[in-house]
């Protein structure tokens, strides 16, 4: 029961606002893509693993505003590469972002992040549940 609660807490905070609503052949340049994310939970923390392939550590930003965690991956505007052309394409590096509503039991002051080869790992330590003794 608790588990499903946590899970719903990791819903995307911007599911309605920034879900891509484009169709093939109609792609506005300024639309926002969602950063793919895995969440691993243990007793002490949640660990978010975000797939930011192709972005450097400096091009990724993490911020919190109250209980909303925002991760953005953005490349500075670049001149298109005219020296080479793509003759086979399966992926593109696109600016993306992800907003997450943090569960109430996350210690926001102690959030830590590290970057490893295109994966951003954010650890969200859990606060210990306060036990309330009820005397009968």
């Amino acid at each position: 029961m608790w588990k499903s609660n946590y899970q719903s807490n990791f819903e995307n905070a911007c599911d309605t606002q920034c879900r891509p609503n484009h169709h093939r052949g109609m792609r506005p340049e300024n639309k926002t893509y969602k950063i793919p994310m895995n969440v691993v939970e243990d007793d002490t923390q949640f660990e978010l693993r975000m797939n930011v392939t192709g972005f450097t550590k400096e091009e990724v930003s993490i911020s919190t505003n109250e209980n909303i965690l925002t991760v953005k991956s953005q490349k500075p505007a670049q001149e298109p590469d005219t020296n080479s052309k793509k003759i086979h394409a399966e992926f593109r590096i696109r600016n993306a972002e992800r907003k997450i509503i943090l569960p109430a039991n996350v210690k926001i002051d102690e959030i830590k992040a590290k970057y490893n080869e295109g994966v951003l790992i954010i650890s969200l330590p859990k606060s210990k549940p306060e036990t309330i003794n009820i005397n009968l």
């Binding site: 588990k3 946590y6 899970q7 990791f10 879900r19 891509p20 484009h22 169709h23 093939r24 893509y33 969602k34 793919p36 994310m37 895995n38 969440v39 691993v40 939970e41 243990d42 949640f46 693993r49 797939n51 930011v52 392939t53 192709g54 972005f55 450097t56 020296n83 080479s84 052309k85 793509k86 003759i87 086979h88 394409a89 399966e90 992926f91 593109r92 590096i93 696109r94 993306a96 490893n116 080869e117 295109g118 994966v119």
Partner: protein
């Protein structure tokens, strides 16, 4: 000439089977938000410049030593052994939108490449393999006298 090079990638895609399925899946996923790592093996791009071909593989979160890059006949084979497969660890995923798995991808190389001049590097989750093209023999123009 350019076309030939493009099509040389085609047969290998078929050996991975279900090319159509793959494209349909990727297409749908693209509509739903896009991802660089959602099929069983990493996505690739191939870039061509005047003097080289670059094969890029989106395989985030690995270590340089996980990769093996090999040339066999005219095939470029890129593979990675991931030491601990996700299924073997005890981690509890409450959400999973991308995955790391061992993989192997093959590319048929066009003939005009110099297989002694290959550079590979792994940066920001992208493995790049750059192969220089052979320098084409300069065409010396000559005028043929009419006897």
């Amino acid at each position: 000439m350019k076309n030939n090079q493009f099509y040389s990638f085609h047969p290998i895609a078929q050996t991975f089977g279900n090319l159509v399925d793959e494209f349909v899946n990727r297409g749908l996923h693209d509509l739903a938000g896009g991802s660089v790592f959602q099929a069983g093996y990493p996505s690739s791009n191939v870039l061509e410049s005047n003097d080289s071909l670059t094969f890029q593989l989106a395989a985030p979160g690995l270590e340089k030593s996980d990769f093996k890059v090999a040339i066999e006949k005219n095939h470029l084979i890129i593979s990675a052994e991931i030491k601990k497969e996700a299924s073997e660890t005890q981690e509890k995923f409450t959400r999973k939108e991308f995955d790391f798995r061992s993989f192997k991808r093959e590319f048929v190389l066009p003939e005009n490449l110099d297989l002694n001049k290959i550079q590979a590097n792994y940066e920001h989750g992208i493995l790049s393999v750059k192969i220089d093209k052979t320098v084409p023999e300069p065409v010396t123009s000559r005028v043929i006298d009419i006897a």
